[in-house]
């Protein structure tokens, strides 16, 4: 009941500012629209590349967490973390729960967007996963989101030690865009960048989610993606926990 009540409150907050949420939807949409236009000018205007950027928008909205700024600025720097510490729920789960309504609203927008797209441009989107792949694709998306969330939360925790992590956050954003396949599909990258992308966790909440949805990854490959996501999630959860346990000792808040 406690969880449901909290979820309802978070839903209320997200749905109060629907237009703001719509603008967040517009950002990746505009960026990826520019990419589709760019490739059309280069003579590479295949449905596969349009699909890639459309699905990258969808994947980005569903699997990319933006929790780090609220954690670092509002909770740690401004001291709002005190409110969370007195609640009978861990901070990790509270943050995760607060993002669920946001994801649902984004999913609603995305469904509408894809619906309109399929009506007016039926050939712009090619998704061909086998029906048997769908449960695995759902797992890949959930794990992709968990990877992004845990990483961004850990990034926010750095504010326990540093006064301003904005510069670092922006640098990490750039690294994520490059190594998650945010510029173009990973197989198009130079081999060195491909290798680095495959080692780092970012492609597993970006490119590989899109590739799975496009249907270009065989069944064995889907299991491979989930395995790597699992390993990275384990590593990030350990780091996240260590940062929290040590960071909370640095936190002080005073009031009258």
């Amino acid at each position: 009941m406690k969880w449901l009540r909290m979820l309802a409150l978070y839903f209320e907050r997200v749905f109060e500012y629907r237009l703001r949420s719509f603008i967040w939807l517009m950002l990746p949409l505009i960026n990826n629209f520019m990419m589709i236009l760019f490739w059309s000018g280069a003579g590479i205007n295949t449905p596969a590349i349009s699909s890639y950027y459309i699905l990258l928008t969808v994947g980005g909205l569903l699997t990319t967490s933006h929790v780090e700024l609220e954690v670092s600025d509002t909770d740690i720097k401004q001291g709002q973390l005190v409110n969370h510490l007195t609640k009978p729920i861990s901070y990790f789960w509270a943050q995760l729960l607060s993002e669920v309504p946001y994801r649902i609203l984004q999913a609603l927008y995305v469904s509408g967007m894809i619906g309109v797209l399929l009506i007016f441009f039926p050939h712009a989107l090619t998704i061909s996963p086998s029906i048997f792949h769908i449960p695995l694709i759902i797992i890949i998306f959930v794990m992709g989101y968990m990877l992004s969330f845990t990483f961004k939360l850990s990034l926010g925790y750095l504010s326990f030690w540093f006064k301003d992590v904005r510069g670092l956050t922006e640098l990490v954003t750039i690294i994520i865009i490059i190594f998650s396949g945010g510029i173009m599909p990973l197989p198009w990258y130079p081999s060195l960048l491909q290798t680095i992308s495959n080692i780092l966790p970012f492609a597993y909440s970006g490119y590989y989610c899109v590739a799975a949805l496009q249907g270009i990854v065989p069944l064995g490959g889907l299991f491979g993606i989930i395995a790597v996501q699992g390993v990275w999630l384990g590593v990030l959860l350990i780091i996240n926990n260590a940062l929290w346990v040590n960071g909370i000792k640095e936190f002080t808040a005073v009031g009258q």
Binding site: Y17, L19, I23, L27, F38, D164, I174, I178, I183, M184
Partner: protein, 225 residues
């Protein structure tokens, strides 16, 4: 006019003093501003690694558009963008009436009270990179082309200011829409691609994107003539 120039000089001095007061913050902003400048170069180098010609522009010329974009945005973000970032808070917290009552033009106060020296690093980086790129790729550039480029970059900054101001004015009706700034930063991205790219999607959308798409492409065309 003279009065406003005098006031703006005082604003620059105050903002310079703030650098000394918040040194870590300044270094942090220099770092992130530089990183975004480098990212734009990496982005276009990656894109042009797959293709040599886009809408009639060679890959070396596309890199010059990107460098031009870095220079223009560096100037714009230094002079105006940080002021606009603050406007939502001014409206939301009811501070706008205090601006209206001051014996200074309100638009001047909204647009020019903050100067971000850290963002200028982008312009410096872009200018050095442009000189190196032009010389290493043997572009023959004369003084008239350089003068034309500088004048058109200045006009581009004014166009960018106008587009931003149109959007920012919406905050008077929707003060909670503070992420409109993020939308504007994203829309600015249109300026780093050739104008021809937007012609390909039809005349109506082209006219919508026209103001942003000519900001950088036009000065670069003059530079390369």
């Amino acid at each position: 006019m003279k009065r406003y120039i005098r006031i703006y000089k005082a604003i620059i001095k105050i903002n310079a003093a703030l650098i000394l007061a918040y040194r870590a913050n300044f270094i942090n902003h220099i770092f992130s501003s530089f990183a975004w400048g480098v990212f734009n170069v990496v982005l276009i180098l990656l894109l042009t690694s797959k293709t040599k010609l886009v809408f009639g522009w060679r890959s070396e010329e596309l890199v010059i558009i990107t460098i031009g974009y870095i220079i223009v945005t560096g100037v714009f973000y230094s002079l105006f963008a940080h002021n606009f970032e603050n406007f939502s808070r001014v409206i939301d917290r009811g501070e706008f009436d205090s601006l209206l009552l001051k014996p200074l033009d309100t638009q001047f106060q909204i647009s020019m009270m903050r100067v971000s020296f850290a963002s200028l690093i982008r312009t410096v980086f872009g200018t050095i990179f442009l000189i190196w790129w032009l010389s290493s790729h043997h572009f023959a550039i004369g003084p008239f082309q350089v003068a034309g480029f500088i004048i058109l970059v200045g006009l581009g900054v004014i166009v960018m200011y106008s587009v931003w101001f149109l959007f920012i004015a919406m905050l008077m009706w929707y003060p909670n829409l503070n992420n409109i700034i993020e939308l504007l930063y994203t829309l600015n991205g249109f300026a780093r691609y050739p104008t021809e790219m937007f012609k390909s999607i039809g005349i109506a959308p082209f006219l919508v994107f026209l103001p942003l798409s000519i900001i950088v492409a036009t000065p670069v065309k003059v530079l390369l003539q």
